[in-house]
Symmetry: C2
Subunit: 252 residues, 2 copies
């Protein structure tokens, strides 16, 4: 077996056994070199393996530490049961705030509007011609000022044009998209979701402040009204901060 894999195996076992507790520092590179009697490059490759597995973080000047993760449960069908959140406070430039206990703990949402021509992928989903106008709404959710989720939601521009829904100044994220659509006479009667996971692109990783070895949970959601796709929403969430929850009462 390769030496760097040996390093990774030994250190991984120690982490999983709790020998190095969560948040604690691992021995420094010079220490590990002395312990294993391998070249520095070899030891570093072993550490790289653990970094890519999401088990450790390494910071220049600070050392290598065991990563600790706690996930928040995010109810998948929240949007269905959502009673409107009236605790909402509009700040400025599409920034909204919820749960006003303390400034740091507040949940915030930043929203950007954008009209674009449908690229091929989206055109296929909507079953429209490529280039047709779509309204893109981009939501960035922050908890404790840390980005936890990015949602890109697309609506047919000619469906919302002239309605309050197409107007950023009327945005009320606490209401939910389906309630918004209902207000313009569109009743969503079917939802199709695809849940996938993949590694983030570098852009996504920096936007969401993700560490190495952290996958992205992706929720691709299509809302239909009378067989027609009326809303497409892609939600990206770092898997080390959020897990999806789904509770089903079978008695109904």
């Amino acid at each position: 077996m390769a030496k760097y894999l040996h390093v990774a195996d030994v250190l991984r076992a120690r982490i999983q056994s709790g020998a190095y507790g969560a948040g604690e520092a691992l021995p420094s590179e010079p220490h590990l070199i002395k312990e294993f009697e391998y070249d520095r490059g070899t030891v570093r490759r072993g550490l790289a393996v653990l970094r890519q597995e999401g088990l450790i973080t390494s910071e220049q000047g600070r050392g290598v530490h065991v990563r600790q993760t706690r996930t928040l449960r995010h109810e998948l069908l929240h949007v269905l049961r959502a009673e409107p959140n009236n605790d909402e406070k509009a700040l400025k430039n599409g920034l909204f705030e919820y749960g006003t206990n303390t400034a740091a703990a507040a949940v915030r949402v930043a929203i950007k509007y954008n009209v674009l021509g449908a690229p091929d992928a989206l055109a296929n989903v909507f079953e429209i011609e490529a280039g047709t106008s779509l309204l893109e709404r981009r939501y960035t959710f922050l908890a404790n000022l840390v980005p936890h989720q990015i949602t890109r939601s697309y609506l047919l521009a000619d469906m919302v044009e002239g309605t309050p829904l197409g107007d950023p100044d009327n945005e009320r994220p606490g209401r939910g998209t389906h309630a918004q659509l209902l207000s313009v006479g569109v009743e969503v009667d079917f939802i199709s979701m695809d849940i996938t996971a993949r590694m983030p692109t570098p852009t996504e990783a920096t936007e969401l402040l993700m560490g190495d070895g952290t996958p992205l949970l992706v929720d691709q959601r299509r809302s239909l009204a009378q067989g027609r796709v009326v809303c497409v929403a892609d939600t990206l969430t770092p898997a080390d901060r959020i897990r999806f929850g789904l509770d089903l009462d079978l008695q109904d």
Copy 2:
């Protein structure tokens, strides 16, 4: 910016633009060294970045290729709507086969039974004392002889003891666990699911034949009957082969 990141950026852009199509080979290391005029180690680090992003595979002697992924949609609540699969054919040693078109295309399930004392984590979920006997059933699903999913399902041993459910020889995976539980008088009335993603351990990666840069989709499911947890099932699926699907008809 670091040189190895430059290499990664340039090659990533070419992959995403389609300059190197899916399945095609990238230029060999010597070629890239000549193009970028960097050291071999630097070029290789750039390639390592793309490998961890799941964009490429590299094989000794064969070269580096653009990875292509096609996922199968796996309905999350399949278990609820499942009509019993009577196309089931029992092979031997807990191996079952479905869809008998061709040998290679057949879906197979390998099943192993095991009785163990509940470790702390499971004891907490079941709300029992650690060490209490649990029946572990381990299902490995294979499609085209490739493992696509591993499920570890746990039942209270004293609930199934003496019933057909506790007996490997009576295993009928096509029936589904809930139908099986019903047959011993336990009616599941609530299901709670947690969906997460993480990088696989090396053991999991080899068992599921996963390439680098591929996360694992994890479905942790608890079945309750009258407020009591009666079944815990963890399902591991490679995210490059399977996506979870959830279709909701809102008209009910």
